[in-house]
């Protein structure tokens, strides 16, 4: 069994940033395991621009953004072993993987950074009735076919869900001469970024139909059309009589992303119901000693720049953990999601260890105007953020809190992050 100080599972944006940070923090015996034949993760197929504004101050395409980190990792001598699938992780950090040439390998890691990313919710999870012919794809699968294989999954498209990948694909398919007939969204708001709605739908005259869903799929061998209906926002059920049939040969699904935590669960890592990712403290340490998590495996992000920032923290804290030989531990205070706050990370603050600013990230539960983020300790407000013009579930909210804001009270019970709306 090979011993590794910091083992990073996943060579996408999170894994690469974590590896670079761990290396820069002085860890030489580290290794990235990547399941595909090249590093870069999902960015490889994201050939549109808009990446890196925050991180590099310029607009890059997905592959360009990934390449910056790949180059950095190479320059630092970070080993990335591709074509390697991790089969299991144990609670005492034994990692088992396979690779066609190296066969089955086992590693004993001092620290692990989980960076496996997320997957798309499929049709089955929605229970849409109808035929099950060809032509139903999750948006990311269609994106891979078009951008990496040069193959067209269809010509007349309806998109269900308004997640960012669906919005990006609306524009991409339009560029390829397809007719994108509608983007249909169950909720009264989009789950995608405002800029994508403007740049990918509005600019091409593609209607965004809020409070609508697909209630039937026609076409035995291949999709020939879908029936959509309006949704009663209260019951979330289709309103009888509002059905309309749209002829199409393809239905793309962009109905949510799910962190891929099968390996985490196998290691005994506690998973949050709110984020569907591991429960972590501000160092991004999970509930299992020496296992850290970052990126979309922890919670689904809107921008890759945030993923890189977060993963750099995990890489650095994992490195510190190894170097100090320290056990985590100390008093962990829970972070509670207050009004308007969903999927908040971190879920704990380690009071004895907090030395640096703590960054809270979450998704607003609804669309709010003139809202501000507030932090309470045991019901007492300790911080009021600046007001935001508009907050929406499609855009991640963040607030960085200085450590001195938290009173050094040994009996501190909980921290609450909430929104205040006028």
């Amino acid at each position: 069994m090979r011993e590794v100080d910091v083992l990073i599972i996943g060579g996408g944006p999170a894994g690469l940033a974590a590896a670079v940070a761990a290396k820069e923090a002085g860890i030489d015996n580290l290794l990235v395991l990547e399941r595909e034949d090249k590093p870069g993760g999902i960015l490889k197929q994201c050939i549109h621009n808009g990446f890196g504004l925050r991180m590099f101050g310029e607009e890059l395409t997905g592959p360009e953004y990934a390449q910056r980190y790949i180059d950095k990792a190479e320059a630092l001598g970070v080993p990335i072993q591709c074509d390697t699938m991790v089969l299991s992780v144990t609670g005492d950090r034994v990692v088992t993987s396979i690779n066609p040439e190296k066969g089955l390998e086992q590693f004993q890691a001092k620290a692990i950074v989980l960076a496996m990313g997320c997957r798309e919710r499929p049709r089955g999870a929605l229970g849409i009735p109808g035929w099950r012919g060809a032509g139903i794809y999750s948006a990311g699968t269609a994106q891979r076919f078009v951008n990496l294989e040069g193959l067209m999954p269809g010509r007349k498209i309806v998109i269900l869900g308004s997640g960012d990948i669906g919005l990006i694909m609306a524009r991409r398919m339009t560029f390829e001469g397809c007719e994108v007939k509608a983007c249909v969204e169950l909720m009264p708001f989009s789950s995608g970024l405002k800029r994508n709605i403007v740049q990918c739908l509005d600019d091409y005259g593609i209607p965004l139909m809020l409070n609508h869903t697909v209630v039937d799929i026609a076409g035995r061998d291949r999709v020939t059309g879908v029936t959509i209906a309006e949704i009663d926002p209260k019951t979330k059920k289709p309103i009888a009589g509002t059905e309309q049939y749209i002829e199409c040969d393809t239905l793309l699904l962009s109905v949510g992303l799910i962190p891929e935590n099968e390996l985490s669960t196998g290691a005994g890592v506690d998973i949050s119901r709110s984020t569907q990712g591991p429960v972590v403290d501000e160092t991004l340490a999970t509930s299992v000693e020496g296992i850290f998590a970052a990126g979309n495996v922890l919670h689904v992000h809107d921008l890759v720049d945030f993923v890189s920032e977060e993963a750099a923290t995990a890489g650095r804290t994992a490195a510190e953990y190894v170097k100090s030989g320290a056990k985590s531990g100390g008093k962990r205070v829970p972070v509670e999601e207050g009004f308007g706050v969903g999927g908040c990370v971190p879920q704990y603050i380690n009071l004895d260890a907090v030395k640096e600013p703590v960054k809270f990230m979450f998704r607003p539960r609804d669309v709010y105007k003139a809202a501000r983020i507030c932090v309470d300790v045991d019901g007492e407000e300790v911080l009021r953020g600046k007001p935001h013009m508009i907050m929406a579930p499609g855009e991640m909210a963040e607030l960085t809190v200085d450590p001195e804001v938290f009173p050094s009270r040994p009996d501190m019970g909980k921290v609450t992050v909430r929104l205040e709306v006028k």
């Binding site: 066609p100 089955l104 499929p122 229970g127 009735p129 999750s138 699968t141 067209m152 061998d221």
Partner: protein
């Protein structure tokens, strides 16, 4: 001149084909679909090996169910078919009373079902702590089991094929007629095959072929649709046994059953429909499944549904399996109207008709019949030592294609290269489970398309989901602009 032509490569046709492959016979199987087990009944059913309590005593259904059930142990060992005797429970709920359970017990005794037991509420809850709160008791059937129905069909067909039976897929039979002392079978492409005997194992279309050659019994197949939900394998252990409710006149009711793959199946509905091909799911049907299944399993985790599907059972107007040689059509053998418990009965029906046809033809047993079939290695179920060995032998087993179900490239290539190998995406899925997990082929379908192209020399635009006009891709990017 053939000795025998079998129409249909579902579980019944394949079971008969394997029986005949034990003899010195020239046998041909004609199947309209691009894959075996793809007709609608053999791939989409409840996957249960029934104990035999349900069928009316004295019927073919009762007889072949009870004969078939004990044959599974040997058959599944020989052919490496996933099978488990997890027992079945028929549960009575408040309002049902226990009388239905006693009646079923009596019926089971008459049918010769072994290992039955009536459980009170306390014992039931001890065995199945997650059973719905209104359960009052149950009939326990020790011989009840679960099997993978399409793998069983494929295994029977593969083994028959390896023992010399010829299969023609994408070949629909359009006519059967008498030709002197034998039969002539014509297919959609106009080919005419002469044969001494014909087996009608055409499932949903078995009425058409019976009525084409015989007036002895007029058969109508009345298609009855069953819709199902599939739940993620995280819930494999919610119940140990298969949970039935008391049967109604429409069938065995909605059940909750783990599958041999670890997922949990809810269903089926029982809807009489007009179109034999109508395997659509509907909002009403799926709601019906949920409503009834909740009685057995109150906390159904709707967030963990991975899919829904429907199958159509070939319900015979005669009420029973139609088996054997009509007097007015010598050499024509029916295995018609095989609805539930057809899967359980298949090995016994195969043996019964195999013997009957062989007697008619005076066929000798083969000396070199090989009863074994080797399944595709299931990488996800192997030990680390076995995995390391497999990768050392063939590096393709070291590359995962389907992450959710841990399916390797080696398994997918094996599925395509083996006898009666996969020709489309769903055929790969049925053989390997690639695409059957949580992401429902989101990640692996582009890779499987690539491998199908490499192995079969196809262009990606020719690859289908399940044959016919189910092409997955419509062209290459830019091709339209260039006028191609």
């Amino acid at each position: 001149m053939r000795d025998c032509i079998i129409i249909g490569a579902g579980v019944i046709g394949s079971a008969i084909a394997r029986e005949l492959s034990k003899r010195e016979l020239n046998v041909l199987v004609l199947e309209r679909r691009e894959d075996v087990a793809d007709g609608g009944c053999s791939k989409a059913n409840t996957a249960i090996v029934h104990a035999g309590y349900d069928a009316k005593p004295g019927t073919n259904k009762a007889k072949f169910n009870v004969l078939g059930n004990p044959m599974f142990d040997q058959l599944c060992a020989d052919l490496e078919i996933p099978f488990k005797r997890n027992t079945s429970l028929v549960v009575a709920f408040e309002g049902d009373g226990m009388q239905g359970i006693y009646d079923l017990f009596e019926r089971g005794l008459k049918n010769g079902v072994p290992d039955m037991q009536i459980l009170d509420q306390y014992t039931l809850r001890k065995l199945e702590p997650n059973i719905g709160r209104t359960a009052i008791g149950a009939l326990r059937l020790g011989t009840g089991g679960i099997v993978c129905p399409y793998e069983m069909t494929m295994a029977l067909a593969e083994n028959a094929c390896e023992n010399g039976v010829e299969f023609k897929l994408n070949t629909e039979v359009t006519n059967i007629e008498r030709a002197g002392d034998h039969w002539a079978v014509t297919t959609a492409d106009g080919t005419r095959y002469e044969t001494k005997t014909v087996v009608n194992a055409a499932g949903l279309y078995s009425d058409k072929f019976n009525n084409m050659v015989s007036n002895e019994v007029h058969l109508d197949i009345l298609p009855r649709r069953g819709q199902y939900y599939m739940v993620d394998k995280a819930y494999e252990h919610v119940f140990n046994a298969t949970i039935f409710q008391l049967p109604t006149d429409k069938g065995k009711g909605i059940l909750v059953s783990r599958t041999v793959d670890g997922t949990v199946l809810l269903g089926p509905t029982a809807e009489d429909i007009d179109d034999k091909e109508d395997t659509r799911t509907t909002a009403e049907g799926l709601a019906d499944v949920l409503e009834h299944a909740r009685k057995s399993w109150e906390d159904i985790p709707m967030r963990s549904f991975i899919g829904n599907f429907a199958g159509v059972r070939p319900r015979p107007s005669t009420g029973d399996f139609l088996l054997g040689e009509p007097k007015d059509a010598p050499g024509f053998f029916n295995a018609a109207g095989i609805e539930s418990p057809g899967l359980t009965s298949a090995p016994a029906i195969g043996q019964y008709l195999g013997d009957m046809i062989s007697d008619k033809l005076g066929a000798k047993m083969k000396e070199n019949f090989n009863p074994k079939r080797h399944a595709i290695p299931k990488f996800r179920e192997l030990s680390n030592e076995e995995r390391a060995k497999l990768i050392a032998e063939d590096p393709a087993y070291g590359r995962i294609i389907c992450r959710c179900e841990t399916v390797t490239e080696g398994e997918i290539r094996n599925a395509i290269r083996r006898p009666l190998g996969a020709r489309n995406l769903d055929a790969v899925k049925r053989r390997t489970r690639a695409g059957m997990g949580r992401c429902q082929s989101g990640f692996c379908s582009p890779r499987v398309v690539e491998i199908l192209c490499e192995e079969l020399g196809l262009d990606p635009t020719e690859v289908t989901k399940f044959g016919g006009d189910s092409q997955l891709l419509v062209g290459r990017i830019g091709a339209e602009k260039e006028g191609k």
